[in-house]
């Protein structure tokens, strides 16, 4: 090990500041066993080690190798025209930091990214050097998420994939025109090509491992990507259709949505926002969940008539209110897939319902105890007893007003109530 110097702390601060806007933090999707003489293992389920003041989890050492960059992307804090402190880690510094943090159980592994220096291939080579050292010299079995530099060539992606658990290339802007406007040096080809390389590698290794048990694994936790929300004119429909087509590819595991944070507010190509569009970002994640875990098709969530997600209610409730003809669902008889579509019932509670109703007919009190959000669900179900006014007996507009009203009431104190006035 190399001696640690205090100046590494300064570098660490600078490069963490530069890396923090990438939202991905997952450490899940694959397992690595501990090996004799090696360090660590990978659990398979994600482990978050801490949570920052903004409520985001810290799972991996999310860091940049350098924040020097030759590009000038308008949405990026590290663009070359920004006047900010720049720093570069040496390979050995970063390797030591990762291992020492890991041994203290601060982190699950490394999430390494970099600004582009000289050219994409040169940068990618440096990134590969770090992960190769970690895996080959230190026999590190923790999680490694490696950012692929847009425009990197195939052989480097191939090398990187042998060491990384997950790789990612960020689309950032789903409309190519808008991307070119904000990031003149980038285009969609430079993003989708490396994605394609990763996918090929994954498929090839899968095939080889079918034949030979010990054939090397390639990016076993698949790839992810990220889109910035609210910096350009894309609708939620544009964004979600892009996600849906990405999820259609065999190796794409996660799409992240990053509410645009005005880091370069002086740039007139970008909108002036008072605060990042956090509600919109949250709705997009909910829609993403509907596609991944709730068997929803993307065209059920957004379409030409409703290109933007409803900010007031969550996308599942919004869908139910648009389709009252599918309700009420009979909790004691309906198919699992139909129960899953009821607002207020999640995957776990839907499964609990299906296994429990074989013993006895379920009542609303049972549902409540199982953790179903009856406040929402009551308008969309019937069970063993007389039901509350459901969405068909009343109207979707009425149910909507009931469900959104209460929020307002909580925030505002009762003004209608008579107050006692004492004369002075």
């Amino acid at each position: 090990m190399y001696p640690v110097k205090e100046e590494v702390i300064d570098k660490l601060k600078i490069l963490a500041e530069s890396a923090k806007y990438d939202v991905s933090c997952a450490s899940s999707g694959t397992t690595r066993k501990s090996t004799p003489g090696g360090i660590g293992n990978t659990a398979g389920w994600g482990i978050c080690h801490s949570f920052t003041e903004d409520g985001r989890c810290v799972s991996l050492l999310k860091i940049m190798l350098t924040n020097h960059c030759i590009y000038d992307c308008a949405y990026c804090i590290n663009r070359r025209s920004n006047d900010l402190p720049r720093a570069t880690f040496s390979v050995s510094e970063l390797v030591e930091l990762t291992i020492e943090f890991y041994r203290r159980n601060y982190i699950e592994g490394l999430f390494l990214s970099s600004g582009v220096v000289r050219n994409p291939d040169y940068t990618m080579e440096r990134l590969v050097a770090v992960v190769r050292d970690l895996r080959n010299i230190h026999r590190f079995n923790g999680y490694i998420h490696l950012k692929t530099i847009p425009g990197a060539s195939e052989h480097l992606v191939q090398q990187a994939g042998m060491y990384a658990d997950r790789m990612s290339v960020n689309i950032e802007i789903s409309n190519e025109e808008n991307l070119k406007m904000l990031a003149p040096e980038k285009d969609h080809a430079s993003v989708f090509k490396p994605m394609q390389f990763i996918q090929q590698g994954v498929l090839q290794s899968r095939e080889e491992r079918n034949k030979y048990k010990y054939a090397p694994r390639f990016v076993p936790a698949g790839q992810s990507t990220q889109m910035i929300v609210g910096a350009t004119s894309e609708t939620d429909k544009d964004i979600l259709f892009t996600s849906a087509s990405l999820y259609g590819r065999p190796s794409m595991k996660r799409v992240y949505y990053s509410g645009y944070i005005p880091v370069n507010s002086y740039d007139s190509r970008l909108p002036a926002l008072k605060q990042p569009p956090l509600v919109r970002e949250n709705r997009l994640y909910q829609a993403d969940w509907l596609m991944r875990f709730y068997e929803f098709g993307v065209d059920e969530i957004v379409d030409d008539k409703f290109p933007m997600l409803d900010q007031e209610v969550d996308p599942k409730l919004a869908w139910a209110l648009r389709h009252p003809e599918n309700f009420p669902v009979d909790i004691n008889k309906a198919d699992y897939h139909d129960i899953l579509r009821v607002p207020g019932i999640g995957v776990k509670s839907a499964k609990l319902i299906v296994v429990s109703r074989r013993f006895a007919r379920l009542r609303t009190t049972d549902l409540k105890k199982m953790g179903i959000v009856l406040k929402k669900a009551q308008y969309f179900i019937t069970c063993n007893e007389l039901s509350a006014a459901n969405v068909n007996e009343t109207s979707p507009t009425y149910v909507r007003s009931l469900l959104t009203q209460s929020k307002v009431n909580k925030k505002q104190p009762h003004t209608s109530q008579t107050t006692l006035i004492f004369p002075e």
Binding site: H49, S50, A360
Partner: protein, 254 residues
């Protein structure tokens, strides 16, 4: 009202189940050896903990339950929650009284209760895996203090054993005053006479490895830099990282 008195051990509880079935009468209440006898008790039966009896009950359960469900019972015991022993008792009684399996009947209060209590223990187990913070001592031993609500320490040792197989560590539960020490080969229980070596869970600086303070400072600096000011959301942070788990987190100590 029939009351069973036992030694508040898991084996004692299983013995109580055995005795109840043996005498064909079931208690409405369980009390410990030093608990005050309830006024309205009609009979108090003293359970003599017997490993043979408890083993028979446990292996009987093994035949009737999926291993997941049986594990849940052990988790419920570790919850140390008020009334968790009676919950286990009622659950086990239901298991033996019913021909068919009751494990999936979550409309039953006890079945759901066992699941939910076990889930709370499991959640805390995962949280402890997340929030253990090792401090490196000069003799290359890594020390961490925790103080969980439930007695989940024994559940996390296997994780740390396989992850940090090549480093010696101690994880110590300050609330229950015991810990486990991994010596590169085996894990054994340890106790300390006092906490003078690790006041408030922090290793005495004289015992620390030379570079320990530096890495702690680096981690603190890194943690601080990661926050996005525009998104500050203490409520969300509290939800994931409740106040009571914060005292031993290096990054939140000053």
């Amino acid at each position: 009202m029939l009351v069973f008195r036992y030694d508040k051990s898991f084996d004692g509880l299983l013995t109580a189940v055995f005795d109840a079935f043996n005498r064909k009468s079931f208690p409405e209440m369980l009390i410990g050896m030093n608990d005050i006898e309830p006024l309205f008790a009609t009979e108090i039966f003293d359970v003599m903990t017997d490993d043979e009896k408890s083993k028979r009950v446990w292996s009987g359960l093994k035949k009737k339950l999926m291993s997941v469900s049986q594990n849940m019972l052990a988790y419920v015991w570790l919850s140390e929650e008020e009334g968790s022993d009676m919950l286990i008792f009622r659950y086990v009684k239901k298991v033996f009284e019913n021909e068919q399996s009751v494990e999936m009947n979550f409309a039953d209060d006890d079945v759901l209760g066992v699941r939910n209590t076990a889930k709370r223990v499991n959640t805390e187990k995962h949280r402890m895996i997340e929030f253990v913070r090792f401090q490196k001592a000069a003799d290359n031993l890594y020390f961490a203090a925790i103080s969980p609500d439930t007695n989940c320490l024994a559940l996390i040792t296997s994780h740390f054993r396989s992850r940090f197989a090549d480093q010696q560590w101690i994880i110590f539960d300050t609330k229950r005053s015991y810990g486990f020490h991994y010596n590169l080969k085996t894990i054994s229980e340890v106790t300390f006479e006092n906490d003078i070596l690790f006041k408030d869970g922090r290793l005495d600086e004289k015992l620390m490895a030379e570079d320990e303070k530096i890495f702690q400072n680096m981690w603190k600096a890194y943690y601080k830099s990661l926050t996005i000011k525009e998104r500050i959301n203490p409520k969300l942070q509290r939800q994931h990282l409740p106040q009571r788990y914060r005292k031993y987190l290096t990054e939140l100590q000053d």
